[in-house]
């Protein structure tokens, strides 16, 4: 029982990072209707940029914020420079996913070319160990958890209480209709990509903070549970991604505790496949978004 509670604690901590990543991923799908596989490499890029920024002596939480902003800009560039023009030229969804996979590979191997294939580490940033509710978490994990909660609460307020948020939801739901209502979908798209890119960058740096060491494969490894979380919650549904991240995190950690640590991601994959075969639109997938996914 004690093991279970501890595992749930680890699950909540890792779930927070996964939720951050999944929310960004799902926002990009909601706004542009593209499954952006480059997301993983952008997380890796954030982690590596973090090494450089930490080397300049900046505080690690400032680095997380900065990294987020930089990747936000990179995401806007990706959309404006690559994805949106290709979509205008009539590239079908499968062609787009090949493009995002290719772009991801280019970014990943540019990282290798510049920083080399060896593993890097942020060093021991964990801080003191805290015990509460039967959980054992490091200070760093708790800070990340709090940051994630604050960001998601902020996103909720943005989406529900602001004009921008309403415009984003409208564009996500039906782009053409939103446009004919006078919403500048291009600009809204840029903002959405910036926001989701920020989540991506922060998730990447949060991952680098919590794991001992990483190399250029960081993004592609963690893309699996992030995609699983996004699909579980329903692609295009930010609240679904938050719940999905938490569920994937907890289930992965509990199975790692009771079964074997190396199989964490296998459980995430199994959930993804089952979800796909049984209910592709995810737990929270509304009918409008599920129409986008069906052939």
């Amino acid at each position: 029982m004690h093991l279970l509670i501890e595992a749930i604690g680890f699950g909540v901590a890792s779930g927070a990072v996964l939720a951050l990543g999944a929310v960004g991923f799902t926002l990009q799908f909601g706004i542009s209707n593209v499954l952006n596989i480059t997301y993983g490499s952008l997380m890796t890029l954030a982690a590596f940029l973090g090494v450089f920024l930490l080397g300049l002596g900046l505080n690690v939480w400032l680095v997380m914020a900065l990294g987020g902003l930089l990747i936000g800009l990179a995401s806007v560039a990706l959309n404006r420079g690559l994805l949106a023009p290709l979509m205008r030229r009539g590239l079908q969804p499968f062609g787009l996913i090949i493009v995002t996979v290719s772009a991801g590979i280019v970014i990943q191997y540019v990282i290798v070319a510049v920083a080399g294939p060896s593993t890097l580490s942020y060093g021991n940033l964990s801080g003191a160990t805290l015990h509460f509710l039967g959980w054992t978490l490091t200070t760093a994990q708790v800070v990340i958890l709090v940051v994630a909660l604050v960001l998601m609460a902020g996103l909720h307020v943005l989406l529900t209480r602001t004009q921008l948020g309403r415009a984003m939801r409208a564009t996500s739901s039906n782009r053409t209709l939103a446009r004919s209502c006078g919403i500048a979908t291009g600009r809204i798209g840029d903002i959405a990509w910036f926001l989701s890119g920020t989540f991506c960058g922060m998730a990447g740096i949060a991952l680098a903070i919590t794991i001992e060491s990483f190399d250029f494969t960081l993004g592609s490894i963690f893309l699996i549970p992030i995609i699983a979380a996004a699909v579980l919650g329903g692609v295009g549904q930010p609240y679904g991604a938050m719940v999905g991240g938490l569920v994937v995190g907890i289930v992965s950690q509990v199975s790692a505790a009771y079964w074997s640590p190396s199989y964490e991601n296998v459980v995430a994959l199994a959930m993804l496949i089952v979800m796909l075969l049984v209910r592709p639109r995810g737990l929270f997938g509304a009918n409008s978004s599920s129409r986008k996914l069906l052939a």
Partner: protein, 337 residues
């Protein structure tokens, strides 16, 4: 055998096995429109099957590697088994794509499957010796002198390619090829005509998987080793780029694309001088060029260098008319208006 001669042997074997793999993937994606981003898994399945069937029990050679089975079967049997296992794994992967979801969503699932397969095999040290992989995989011609043995291997790969070519032609030409292409272009029309889309899809994945399995087996037997490092998810993209660049659905195009990408590009970068301060730079450069090539071709010429040839039908009055339908790029880019 001089270094150059051996390198030529290696290139020819790589070309042969990559051709078999590319033809398999072309059958699945170029002809049948199945978004199989997990193709490398069937190649790996074939390689591992060959390895564990042709190696002896794992206690041999000092017991330094742990794996299942180990029957020391002869070469031909092990290769055929590799083809069968490749087909089965292909069908299993294909089952996940049967649900009526968008093609890129399916592709993403298969990509995740591919990532996962590497992780699972790498993590379990007792199944296929984990990250270290299997080595000392028997080469059927090891009893011959190195020069004769190597060139005999090249000849055998050549024979396999010739056989594979004819098998592929039977599938891509004729009624089967037409049914598969029709399924790619419009699933509902094909279903309305009475074809079972499920059966066609799974069949193309089985045959494609068999091609991949043989390719993997031949590669593993030649190299003598096989580990998770050899089949990362990017390898599928290399084959996919070869198909896209060369021309999807066009047999010659795919073959040319494979030669350009798998041989010229990915091998060619090995010739660039290594910069000592940046190890792995040349290999990374190869992958960067690959990614940029894919994006460029999808942007500028999605049909590839050699477009798919649509059949021309002669009308009874004697005038030639091209068959109706799109230019063959419908799955990747919208048909020209």
């Amino acid at each position: 055998m001089s270094g150059i001669e051996f390198y030529v042997v290696v290139l020819l074997v790589y070309l042969g096995t990559d051709l078999l793999a590319a033809w398999g993937l072309n059958l699945e994606y170029g002809i049948s429109g199945v978004a199989n981003l997990a193709f490398i898994v069937v190649i790996a399945a074939g390689a591992y099957t060959y390895a564990i069937l042709s190696l002896g029990p794992d206690s041999g050679n000092g017991g330094f590697q742990l794996y299942v089975i180990g029957l020391q079967l002869p070469f031909a049997v092990a290769v055929i088994a590799a083809a069968v296992v490749g087909a089965v794994v292909g069908v299993l992967i294909g089952v996940t794509g049967l649900k009526r979801i968008r093609q890129d969503y399916q592709g993403m699932v298969m990509l995740v499957i591919s990532l996962m397969a590497v992780t699972v095999v790498g993590a379990d040290t007792g199944f296929l010796n984990g990250q270290a992989g299997l080595s000392l995989i028997p080469n059927p011609f090891s009893s011959l002198s190195p020069v004769v043995g190597d060139w005999t291997y090249v000849a055998m790969v050549g024979v396999a390619c010739v056989i594979g070519f004819f098998v592929m032609k039977r599938f891509t030409g004729g009624p089967m090829g037409r049914a598969l292409r029709a399924m790619r272009d419009d699933e509902h029309a094909v279903a309305a005509l009475g074809f079972s889309v499920v059966r066609l899809r799974l069949m193309s994945q089985a045959v494609g998987g068999a091609f991949g399995g043989v390719s993997g087996a031949l590669l593993a037997a030649f190299i003598g080793g096989w580990s998770p490092g050899a089949w990362a998810y990017v390898e599928t993209l290399a084959l996919l780029t070869a198909i896209i660049v060369g021309g999807m659905g066009n047999d010659m195009g795919v073959s040319l694309g494979t030669f350009v990408i798998a041989v010229l590009l990915l091998q060619g970068v090995q010739f660039l001088p290594q910069i000592s301060s940046h190890t792995g730079l040349t290999e990374a450069l190869g992958w960067i060029i690959l990614g940029v090539l894919t994006i460029t071709f999808l942007w500028v010429r999605p049909q590839g260098i050699f477009k798919e040839r649509r059949p021309f039908y002669r009308s009874p009055s004697g005038s030639d008319r091209p068959s109706p339908g799109d230019s063959g790029t419908g799955r990747v880019a919208a048909p020209p208006a």
